[in-house]
């Protein structure tokens, strides 16, 4: 079961601009509220204690912790961050980054670069083929296999028992295959005799063919 697979999220965001806007609003509201509650809980603070630290009343904290509220101001968020002694990042990001975050897909953050300042919008990313890779559009399993490094291609082109096509193949997206592979394997933990742990090692060693070969199932 995957509530928010990359594939499902891309399909959803492709519907229209209004859907994308709702997705941003929904996730912003829920993420802020749940982060606030969970971080306060981690500190062992009550709502009253946080309210005291921020200089608000408890009702305001309760409202801010509601995932349905969604009207936190940047000023309030900065005050909350300061009170809890955590950092706050408020920045525009491309949809691909939000998709990775929501789906729990590891992503390489380039940091403060020119590209991070001028954000590609959904249409630009679509034109660049960022989402096509996820969906397998225009490529198909063989196309994806062709883009993989040799060792992984050999692995993913093999078939599972019962002639089930290896789930890693069609879903491979450059740079994120570790997570996607693990999502596919999930807690079942077995992929052609490979344990979840060894698959994890195998995937994280994506740029190291020798490590890959050690982990490869025989």
């Amino acid at each position: 079961m995957n509530l928010n697979s990359r594939e499902a999220l891309v399909r959803r965001l492709r519907r229209d601009k209004a859907t994308r806007q709702r997705f941003v609003e929904s996730n912003l509201a829920k993420a802020m509220a749940h982060q606030l509650r969970a971080t306060r809980d981690k500190l062992g603070w009550s709502q009253e204690r946080l309210a005291r630290e921020v200089g608000m009343n408890q009702n305001a904290i309760s409202r801010l912790e509601s995932p349905e509220y969604g009207r936190q101001t940047l000023t309030t968020l900065k005050r909350l961050a300061a009170a809890m002694d955590v950092a706050l990042i408020a920045r525009f990001v491309p949809f691909s980054e939000l998709i990775d975050w929501v789906s729990g897909t590891p992503r390489k953050i380039s940091g403060l670069t020119a590209a991070a300042l001028a954000i590609p919008n959904f249409e630009s990313e679509e034109k660049e083929g960022v989402f096509a890779q996820t969906m397998g559009v225009g490529a198909g399993p063989e196309g994806h296999l062709a883009k993989m490094p040799d060792p992984l291609r050999q692995f993913t082109s093999r078939r599972l028992p019962g002639n089930t096509l290896n789930p890693l193949g069609p879903l491979w997206t450059g740079g994120t295959r570790a997570s996607i592979a693990l999502q596919q394997v999930g807690s079942a933990g077995q992929l052609e005799g490979t344990s979840r742990d060894s698959l994890q090692n195998l995937c994280w060693a994506q740029n190291d063919a020798s490590v890959f070969d050690v982990q490869r199932p025989q």
Partner: protein, 133 residues
């Protein structure tokens, strides 16, 4: 907080193999399903004590409800999925028992049905399956 928390959601299957909570979910509009998924996507990674109102409420007789709201033609509609922390032997598992479009404040009929379904699960008259989102 345990960084590895990931709840698994199951659906109730009637003794005659019907999965009507799944049918209810599948029949929702895309916007309704999106909101349900968004609500559950966050609950999925939270420990049980942080499942709180308004998205979640503990009810009587070991049942609880997940709630979500969607604006349909400028009217806010409320949906509720009655469920239970089941199977109890699995630490992070929650079973949806019945889905309802909330029309009344105190849905006695829906709650009664959910309690009855949990009883059937406990007595092994009914089963569960992994819910499909």
């Amino acid at each position: 907080m345990d960084g590895s928390i990931k709840w698994v959601f199951y659906g109730y299957m009637t003794p005659n193999r019907r999965s009507d909570v799944q049918e209810w979910f599948d029949a929702l509009s895309e916007d309704e399903k999106d909101e349900a998924r968004d609500v559950l996507a966050y609950l999925q990674h939270l420990p049980r004590h942080l499942w709180c109102s308004p998205a979640f409420e503990i009810l009587d007789h070991d049942i609880s409800e997940v709630r979500f709201k969607v604006n349909v033609l400028h009217v806010q509609r409320v949906y509720r999925i009655y469920g239970a922390f089941w199977p109890e032997r699995k630490r992070y598992s929650f079973t949806f028992l019945i889905g309802k479009n909330k029309k009344v404040d105190n849905d006695r009929k829906g709650k009664k049905e959910a309690i009855d379904r949990l009883r059937r699960l406990r007595s092994r008259e009914a089963t569960i399956y992994e819910f499909k989102f």
